[in-house]
Symmetry: C2
Subunit: 134 residues, 2 copies
DNA sequence: ATCTAACCTTCTTTTTACAGGAAGGTTAGG
DNA sequence: CCTAACCTTCCTGTAAAAAGAAGGTTAGAT
């Protein structure tokens, strides 16, 4: 059984984060010491690591909660896991499209800005007038 | 002079958002009616629209505050505006790279998942073991 | 004149996923 | 026995609003 800082280190999370996950009931410690310290078992650390990776894949806490229940369920249907993952991919694709548009617009604006100390700036002008770029 | 809902509509923002911008001192209404209603002038609406567009370009509120002061300043040096914009572009590029990596990893995982009711799922397996996806 | 719907106000709470810090108890080593 | 490094709970703060409660105002229709 590991105290919180060992558990955090082994799961590559911060102590604050691990304590937070305990508070919201995502990963509760296996037990407590006589002094009230959280004690984590190996299986808890595996769950924390699982969540850490899923979070890095930008799954939300609630999605992690769903994935974790599938992870803990021996009877888990992979269809459900695949569905959640495909949803996440679609979400990322949408965000990618938006960001690319945004970047291209800003590039265009910056490309037309002489960047000296003259007071007329096409970036400001565009924002002020709401003209469509391009 | 426009009441808040007219101002919001004309700037393509919500009433809540306009009131919020007034609260944080970003765009204060030109005046108040006898009953205490916020009253916005044309120039206020131009500023609100300016901020709305900048926000859609993912400038933070604080960056908007900076841009607005440049916008309001006849002596504004466009170099400063260009610098902020280029910074924003670099930031978006970083985020794009991260998101593409992430999506490719998830695609790989989903591609290897049979997606039926069998309990062995490579997505779960990957998250559980922390194996690197290539 | 009154009714009612649609406004408006301020204030408080909620959201996401923690981070930071205060005040105080515990433990391990020298 | 001292001290440093742990640990605890509780409170506040973050970004940028959204949502809702409780109540005042206004404009048009009856």
């Amino acid at each position: 059984m590991y105290k919180i800082s060992d558990a955090a280190r082994r799961a590559a999370l911060t102590v604050k984060t691990v304590r937070y996950y305990a508070d919201i009931g995502l990963v509760k410690p296996a037990g407590r010491s006589a002094a009230g310290y959280r004690l984590y078992a190996e299986s808890d650390i595996a769950k924390l690591g699982f969540i850490g990776r899923a979070r890095r894949y930008s799954f939300s806490i609630e999605q992690c909660r769903d994935l974790l229940s599938l992870y803990e369920d021996d009877q888990r249907p992979s269809a459900e896991v695949k569905r959640i993952t495909l949803e996440k991919i679609a979400e990322i694709d949408r965000k990618l499209g938006e960001l690319q548009e945004l970047r291209d617009e800003l590039r265009h604006l910056a490309g037309n800005c002489h960047g000296d100390s003259r007071p007329d700036c096409p970036i400001i002008g565009n924002l002020a007038s709401g003209l469509t770029v391009q």
